[in-house]
């Protein structure tokens, strides 16, 4: 029986890749464990091993082919005694098999990220500026590299940031350019290196401390809050702590409850911290540069699921965005969807769908969670009179709760409907694909909430 060799998924979020190189040719005999091909993902080149023995019958996808979907049949392996020449591609082989799990948000957002219509308070991007496509991870890397070139005091430390080039490849290339003095691999010791980073900031340096994910920063949260956030106040303004704690935050894909949590509300509740959670690449870069420059400690929350997503980024020498300013991602008049981080993509998709239903939604990306841009929320509320918050995180004591309080306290007279929040379900994130999907915020729920506050049903 001929065996179909399919394009493998080499990470939880991979959907397609480049078939970089075949290491076997038609007619070759292979054993289990032999490397058949090299496959490039957006993060790395991986070897694709055979798990069966047999003879390579037909190679269906030539080397160098890009954007090969996971599940596509790339070759046929003839089993023992089979006639290799008789083995041919099955009819279905040309088409990508549907992935077993629900598509990760990455894919859908790729398509749905429209350019902003207006950039409130952001520095002007001069007309005619060249725009380039950059993934979120490249933009973050470029932001760090620019600041490291600008200021000798800036350095990066964390697990696998240097020689491994970053667990999620966000620090790719930094070691080559800046060397081991400024790009520092730490042992797996979050509490310790968060403390060392914080102390180095107190001692006059500008550390960027990468957490492999913010889930692991739970081990270090004492230094983020008790040491970094409070010392300036406790010292009557003597002690500075200009540090950036950054890394992926929020639910990834199928990694279970301990690796899937949004810490935005946790850190945003702490006076003395700046908390930034950008959505697109341009904001991520401009805000990361601002975070590195500010004298205050910053928690910079990224999202793994959009690291590989490409966005338009202005090619400017030094584009620094203001901290504490929200951005209108899409203008609308009927309802405001307030959001941040990955949920902005979901909000934009929802707005597109609502547009087809005659509801004109405005999408506001908070970008900074602390200090929160109350004015932007209230201005939009005054315009649309209806607010829905879309947040990839738990509902209880959330950013959504805070926005609701702001709307109640300061925007009550403008409200035509109760403010609704659309968040994840109030449960630890489950592993099973169907349960995970049920637990996470999605476009449908955002659409339904918007229709509800517009009394459309």
């Amino acid at each position: 029986m001929a065996i179909e060799l399919k394009m493998p998924a080499l990470s939880p979020t991979m959907e397609e890749g480049t078939l970089a190189k075949w290491l076997v040719k038609e007619g070759d005999t292979v054993a289990a464990g032999d490397v058949l091909a090299e496959i490039e993902t957006d993060k790395a080149t991986m070897e694709f091993e055979s798990i069966d023995e047999g003879t390579v019958g037909k190679i269906l996808v030539e080397e160098g082919a890009e954007e090969v979907k996971v599940g596509t049949v790339i070759a046929i392996l003839a089993g023992e005694g089979e006639d290799v020449s008789a083995v041919s591609a099955p009819a279905a082989a040309e088409e990508a098999a549907p992935p077993a799990q629900a598509p990760a948000p990455e894919a859908t957002q790729n398509a749905a990220a429209p350019a902003a219509k207006e950039r409130a308070d952001d520095p002007e991007i001069p007309a005619g500026t060249n725009m380039v496509k950059l993934t979120l991870r490249e933009a973050l890397r470029d932001g760090m590299a620019e600041e490291m070139r600008r200021d000798e005091r800036v350095f990066v430390m964390g697990e696998e940031v240097a020689e491994y080039q970053g667990a999620y490849k966000v620090t790719q290339g930094l070691l080559d350019e800046f060397g081991p003095k400024r790009v520092i691999d730490t042992p797996i010791t979050e509490y310790g290196f968060a403390g060392i980073g914080t102390g180095a900031a107190m001692g006059g340096l500008r550390p960027i401390v990468e957490f492999m994910t913010f889930n692991f920063a739970m081990q270090a949260i004492d230094h983020i809050i008790n040491s970094a956030a409070k010392t300036n106040y406790m010292s009557g303004g003597q002690m500075r702590c200009p540090i950036v704690f950054r890394g992926p935050n929020g639910a990834a894909s199928r990694v279970g409850a301990q690796h899937s949590q949004n810490y935005g509300p946790w850190y945003a509740s702490v006076p003395g911290l700046i908390v930034i959670a950008p959505y697109d690449a341009q904001d991520a870069k401009g805000l990361l540069k601002a975070a590195i420059r500010t004298e205050d400690p910053v928690v910079f929350l990224e999202n793994e699921l959009i690291y590989g997503t490409s966005f338009e980024v202005a090619q400017l020498d030094d584009h620094v965005l203001p901290i504490g300013k929200a951005r209108i991602m899409r203008e609308g008049s009927d309802v405001t969807i307030v959001s941040y981080s990955i949920a902005v993509g979901i909000a934009l998709e929802a707005a597109d769908e609502l547009a087809g239903q005659g509801i004109d939604a405005e999408v506001l990306d908070l970008r900074t969670l602390r200090p929160l841009d109350r004015e932007a929320v209230l201005t939009s509320l005054a315009k649309t009179n209806r607010v829905v918050i879309a947040e990839e995180g738990w509902p209880t004591c959330s950013i959504a709760s805070e926005v609701i309080a702001i709307c109640m306290e300061e925007g009550f007279d403008h409200l035509d409907a109760p403010v609704l929040r659309v968040c994840n379900e109030d449960v630890p994130l489950p592993y099973a694909a169907n349960l995970e999907k049920l637990a996470l915020i999605d476009k449908e729920r955002v659409v339904a909430a918007c229709r509800k506050v517009c009394y459309a049903d």
């Binding site: 081991p180 900031a201 340096l205 008790n226 406790m234 010292s235």
Partner: protein, 369 residues
């Protein structure tokens, strides 16, 4: 790649050695490396101080003693609130160590029992006492209190209230010294209680791995709050606890300022030569409770009295001065002067105004957004 960094570094500077750390496995006798500084101390236990230095140490230790007694008194009067941890009995540790620092570059960090370390720097007792009473003139403008005091001018980085946190932060200060190649070292104090915190060992590992210029000082005052070291620690010889990271240890009599100073000379030299960290255990004793609200029922009155009578660091130095022919009356004059200084500090702390209500909102963040 594995070039030994000991000889290749600039003299007096701890240059970055991260990429060129020595291989973990070595053929040298591990006991020698770990005990080499102790051996050096055993050869010559006490620092040879000039009369002027002796007198200076005496004055400083006495200032700490009198200051702390006064603080205890003000606490009893309700003028100092919250937690207040007195340094009485431990004076020789801060004075012996900090007198050996290069005040232009070196940094110091400690926990919440921090009054003595500040006074050891010669920081004005008025602003320290005013911080204890929560006044605007306090060194942290009344917003830090006893446990949270800092002087960036003196490179004194606190004053930290979370047990053990200052050790990692101290690792960061040492990292900055190395990064900036300023030749400085960090002196990071912690207690026998903090010595059981995990982050202390996380920091030791990185400090040894990267050869950070840091001296870890365990001020072993025998009790972590109310728990005697033997009840909390499997290894009560704290100077040995760096062994797992190949950090040389030193066991020092923290009740003798000259022994502490001698140990400091040895340890600082080693660290400044780029060899990485040292772990120094200073055995000392606090006469008072853990904090003002601790009646210290976990030890006997006799035990405390025994320490006071036989081991007191100030009495020891007083005798030393006496046998050096220093006039008893002059010492009395010194005591009188210090009492006056402390009384003035108390008056200042009591009479100076509280912070303006508007100060509630200042210094939360440095920048405006």
């Amino acid at each position: 790649m594995a070039k030994a960094s000991k000889t290749s570094t600039t003299k007096g500077k701890a240059a970055p050695a991260r990429a060129k750390a020595k291989p973990a496995v070595s053929n040298e006798d591990p006991n020698f490396a770990l005990r080499s500084l102790q051996d050096a101390l055993d050869k010559k236990k006490r620092y040879t101080a000039s009369e002027e230095q002796l007198l200076h140490f005496y004055k400083q230790m006495l200032l700490i003693r009198r200051f702390e007694e006064k603080a205890g008194q003000l606490y009893g009067l309700g003028l100092i609130g919250g937690f207040c941890h007195l340094y009485i009995g431990q004076e020789a540790v801060a004075i012996g160590l900090q007198s050996a620092l290069d005040s232009d570059v070196d940094s110091v960090i400690t926990g919440y029992r921090d009054h003595g370390h500040m006074l050891a720097y010669g920081i004005d007792p008025n602003v320290i006492m005013a911080e204890l009473t929560g006044r605007a003139a306090g060194i942290s403008q009344g917003k830090g209190g006893s446990m949270h005091m800092f002087s960036t001018e003196h490179k004194f980085y606190g004053g930290h209230g979370i047990v053990g946190a200052q050790v990692s932060l101290g690792g960061g200060l040492a990292f900055a010294h190395q990064y900036n190649e300023d030749g400085g070292l960090c002196l990071a104090y912690f207690g026998d209680g903090a010595a059981n915190q995990g982050q202390v060992y996380e920091t030791m590992n990185m400090a040894a791995l990267w050869k950070l210029p840091i001296v870890f000082v365990v001020e072993n005052n025998q009790y972590a709050m109310g728990t005697a070291v033997s009840r909390s620690s499997a290894e009560t010889e704290f100077y040995r606890r760096g062994t797992a990271f190949r950090i040389p240890g030193m066991k020092v009599n923290g009740m003798d300022v000259l022994e502490v100073r001698q140990a400091a000379e040895i340890a600082f030299k080693y660290v400044r030569e780029g060899n990485g960290p040292v772990l120094m255990e200073c055995n000392t004793y606090r006469y008072r409770g853990h904090s003002m609200s601790d009646p210290a029922k976990y030890r006997t009155r006799e035990e405390v009295q025994g320490q006071r009578e036989k081991n007191d660091p100030i009495e020891r130095l007083k005798k030393e001065l006496g046998s050096a022919g220093y006039d008893e009356d002059k010492l009395k004059e010194i005591d009188k002067g210090i009492r006056a200084t402390v009384a003035d500090a108390a008056d200042f702390a009591e009479s100076s105004p509280e912070p303006e209500p508007g100060e509630l909102y200042t210094d939360v963040l440095v920048e405006e957004y």
